[in-house]
Symmetry: C2
Subunit: 199 residues, 2 copies
């Protein structure tokens, strides 16, 4: 702790609000910020402001982007009738790296978790259903994480999507259970895409 300088203690407490940052880590970060050269701190403050000003949700697929619509939604060469549904924007990047998918994405911004108060209203589910209907989507590949919340979401989406006539598939279980899509290697992700099945 750094009680000798109250503004430093203030900064430490602010940093301790970050997810995954404990009191000791917050102190390390605060001391680093204190000692860093002016230009480095200036760059950090600038980066925070830039990111907050420029990053928006794509109005079509809800990924994080600086363009409207995002680069993928604007790419005419990509099939708008095959959607890959993911929980988080960072997962779009993971799939893009495989170069194995030429359809479009839809970012839910989370997964159903009733105990945490996350229901269908909290996610971009209504927007997905509207999009599937409007674009006459022929396949929705549900790529939520292989976790309890991800599975629950997949089942819920399948129920809602079936009446719309689209084929609903789940990403193949080349993924290790309990793993994280974002950090799966590219081959595993490619195999998982190939191994998708009807649900």
């Amino acid at each position: 702790m750094i009680t000798m300088a109250s503004s430093l203690e203030q900064l430490r407490q602010r940093l301790a609000l970050f997810p995954g940052v404990g009191p000791k880590m917050a102190e390390r970060l605060a001391l680093y910020i204190l000692r860093a050269p002016d230009h480095e701190v200036h760059q950090l403050l600038l980066a925070i402001e830039e990111a907050r000003r420029q990053v928006i949700h794509c109005p079509v697929c809800f990924t994080l982007t600086e363009e409207t619509p995002c680069r993928i939604c604007a790419d005419e060469s990509r099939d708008p009738r095959v959607l890959c549904v993911v929980e988080q924007a960072a997962e779009v990047d993971a799939f893009e790296k495989t170069k194995a998918f030429r359809g479009r994405y839809h970012v839910l911004h989370g997964a159903l978790s009733p105990l945490d108060g996350i229901g269908p209203q909290e996610l971009k589910i209504a927007e997905l259903l509207r999009r599937v209907h409007a674009d006459q989507v022929k396949e929705v590949i549900i790529c939520t994480n292989p976790t309890l919340a991800g599975e629950t979401t997949a089942t819920y989406l399948a129920e809602k999507l079936h009446p719309l006539g689209a084929r609903v598939t789940r990403i193949g279980y080349g993924l290790p259970m309990g793993g994280d899509i974002e950090y799966a290697d590219e081959l595993t992700l490619t195999r998982a895409l190939e191994g998708r099945r009807e649900i």
Copy 2:
């Protein structure tokens, strides 16, 4: 990674420069900053600027403070002739919490580590020697960490301090309170035996 929004990726890279922050953690922090409410981010930026503007090194003991000299150096009830020498300012707080020490401190801002290019010039050692001489200090308790760098520093300081006539002591080694003898490492047990006292 978040390549879809370059300003977000910029922010992630900035945060990844922090000590102990890996790429995954940096991404989590960047996304948190992106989603946080305006007032929270404003408070964070303010805290960074305040800390950087207000926090200085005490000109006497070199701890982090907002006052000149720091509260401890200004406290007349504390014995200026007993110094506790520590590596980092945060360690002053650790000792203050014990309420067991009524002398003054001296913060070295590191420990000797020639392989990392940290020699006596990089630390507040000349200032310590001047202070011991000027204040006619009668005891210097060397409280550097029980690591290779801390031990090296303690030995070096002892050599430099002896000619000045001050008593030079090293903080006691032994079992940590609440520790378990069975799991203590051999070096700690050896030091604990050496440090035994009459009861």
